[in-house]
């Protein structure tokens, strides 16, 4: 276990009554990595992310995020992460700039930093013409890119992205991943969940979650060799077929 790892998780578990949503998962994520967290719907990805970002109290196990304990120091974790939830979480009755000002404000950016950042994002996303438009009026793909940019407005060392590309067209998805890769190249660790298997190829390490357990972890190349598959899709199907939860549905 590399002490410098930004996420260190050991046998982390979350139970809701009888239901074990996350079952003793262990993993390490190194700094600057893109860590892909793959799994079918209901596999427990969101629950795991919520525990790591301090939104949900774990039932058992250990987890350290950027050196802070998820049990005792969730507020310190929150200062050091970005988070983009599955549900769109910008205020759609505010303009692009108003959203940036709000989220920048609550992460403690001063006016000068905020101004620079706002300019930067507007340049990066080419949304100069839309900066005073309501977020509601933007196309979904743009909203998602904007939500991502705002979630890392405060330059956190780590960002959690929960299915950021859900419902987005392939071209926008590629653009989105360019943004992610760019951030990772800048040293940011990206922890991302998805169920688009082609997106796994962008990740340095992927883990595949089935029924709350991590069934496989490694680089895509390693996994494809191990499961003698041509692409990640086949790897995933091989593993996910074992799912009891999915078969019950």
């Amino acid at each position: 276990m590399n002490p410098d790892n930004i996420i260190k998780v050991e046998k982390l578990t979350k139970r809701f009554g009888e239901f074990v949503a996350v079952d003793q998962i262990s993993m390490d994520v190194g700094r600057g990595q893109i860590f892909g967290f793959l799994g079918a719907n209901g596999a427990g990805k969101t629950t795991a992310i919520k525990m790591l970002s301090g939104l949900l109290q774990p039932t058992a196990g250990k987890a350290m995020v950027n050196g802070f304990d998820v049990y005792t120091e969730p507020e310190k974790i929150k200062r050091n992460i970005g988070y983009m939830s599955q549900r769109f979480s910008l205020y759609d009755d505010l303009t692009v700039v108003e959203n940036m000002k709000f989220y920048g404000g609550i992460y403690g950016l001063n006016n000068k930093e905020l101004k620079i950042k706002t300019e930067e994002i507007i340049q990066l996303l080419h949304i100069g013409d839309f900066k005073d438009k309501l977020v509601r009026s933007l196309p979904l793909g743009w909203k998602q890119k904007l939500a991502f940019s705002i979630s890392i407005l405060h330059n956190p060392p780590l960002v959690f992205l929960d299915e950021p590309t859900g419902g987005v067209d392939p071209i926008t998805r590629r653009e989105f991943w360019e943004l992610i890769t760019q951030s990772a190249n800048g040293g940011m660790t990206v922890f991302v969940t998805t169920h688009y298997m082609d997106e796994a190829e962008y990740c340095d390490i992927v883990s595949i979650m089935v029924d709350g357990r991590i069934e496989a972890m490694g680089s895509t190349r390693e996994l494809k060799t191990k499961y003698k598959a041509e692409d990640m899709e086949s790897v995933f199907v091989t593993l996910a077929r074992k799912s009891k939860r999915a078969n019950q549905e």
Binding site: Q57, E75, K101, F102, G105, I106, Y107
Partner: protein, 372 residues
């Protein structure tokens, strides 16, 4: 502190973006204050009288004229059969039935005495008793008239010598609007305040934006205070609009210092807004919020002493009114507006508001979890 300002700014931006909010803030108080005081009228008018006349004499006509000339009681039916009148009574087409026996006038003149029977429909108790009292008073006057007219040589003075003259303080013309308007002003402020704050918070839950707040380093109390401030300001705006309408439409001018009303509302609004926020921490959807807040509003309003006297409630209900913030403000508002009470008179009530506000805000902060 900076975080709080950031939230306040965001709330104002969102509030003024939606034109419906502005309408609610400005138009609702105006309409309610224009309509409610007229409807919440204690005076009993339009009392319907059914007469059963077996006498058909000028004396009866005189009596009826006397009764109906007051304007409060209208003769709706003139029957000669008791059964016909009773039917009207049963159908709620008549409130009072007077049966005049045969030889009414004759008895009156010959024996100095005659009786009539009065029946009052008491389904609505208040209306019945007040209507009955009106009628009794009118009949007394009528009695007096005929005695003065007919008793020519009184051997003794049949008219009582003690005359009661009442003086009505603080509201000399007994204008019920002077009484109702300050109270309705409070209800208005309460409805707008509690609903706005509760719905606002729950909307963030529904949209999921609350999760983004929860995952940020913002502190719970900062978030809640940041949410309270904008609505506190809007509450004072509503109060000002209300006071203006009270003056323009009803001519209600506070006898006491208007600053005291604002002083009290400053604390009162905190109680109401915190209550709204507290509700929103327990529920998940705007629909649930409306139901829960409606439930409490009903109880609080009915127990507030706005429509009925707290002093005449049963002891246990009076105990509950001690927990009803509306009751305090209704009373204080009437005290300041009608009686001109000073700071020292309302100081204990302000103290109670401060306690309630602190308790409710703490509870709301405590019950709002950034982590589940």
């Amino acid at each position: 502190m900076r975080n709080i300002i950031t939230i306040v700014r965001k709330e104002f931006a969102q509030f003024f973006r939606d034109k419906a909010n502005i309408r609610m803030l400005l138009v609702m108080p105006v309409i309610q204050l224009l309509i409610l005081p007229l409807a919440a009228d204690y005076e009993v008018k339009n009392i319907k009288l059914a007469l059963i006349d077996h006498d058909h004499s000028p004396g009866v006509n005189q009596m009826i004229q006397k009764i109906t000339s007051s304007g409060y009681i209208h003769l709706v039916a003139y029957e000669s059969d008791y059964k016909d009148a009773l039917r009207l009574f049963e159908q709620d087409k008549a409130d009072i039935m007077i049966e005049v026996p045969p030889q009414f006038e004759e008895n009156l003149i010959r024996n100095n005495e005659a009786s009539i029977s009065v029946s009052v429909n008491a389904v609505n108790g208040a209306r019945a008793s007040i209507g009955g009292q009106y009628l009794q008073k009118i009949l007394q006057d009528y009695n007096m008239d005929i005695r003065l007219k007919w008793i020519q040589f009184p051997r003794f003075n049949p008219i009582p010598l003690v005359q009661v003259e009442s003086a009505y303080w603080f509201n000399p013309h007994m204008n019920y609007k002077q009484f109702m308007v300050p109270g309705i002003l409070v209800i208005l402020l309460t409805m707008v305040g509690a609903n706005m704050s509760a719905l606002n918070f729950v909307k963030e839950k529904e949209l999921g934006t609350i999760e983004q707040i929860n995952v940020s380093p913002i502190q719970k109390h900062e978030f809640i205070i940041g949410k309270l401030i904008p609505f506190w300001i809007m509450g004072q705006v509503v109060l000002s609009i209300g006071l203006l309408i009270a003056y323009l439409v009803y001519g209600v001018v506070p006898v006491g210092n208007i600053g005291l009303i604002y002083l009290f509302s400053s604390f009162y609004l905190l109680v109401v807004l915190a209550f709204g926020l507290l509700i929103s921490t327990f529920v998940q959807t705007q629909q649930q919020t409306m139901l829960v807040s409606f439930f409490f509003m009903m109880i609080f309003i009915l127990l507030s002493g706005l429509y009925t006297m707290i002093d005449s409630m049963p002891a246990w209900a009076q105990m509950i009114t001690k927990l009803d913030p509306i009751a305090y403000f209704v009373r204080v508002n009437r005290m300041v507006i009608m009686k001109g009470s000073g700071l020292s008179d309302i100081l204990p009530d302000i103290g109670i508001m401060i306690c309630m506000a602190s308790a409710l805000i703490s509870w709301a902060v405590w019950n709002y979890h950034k982590r589940s």
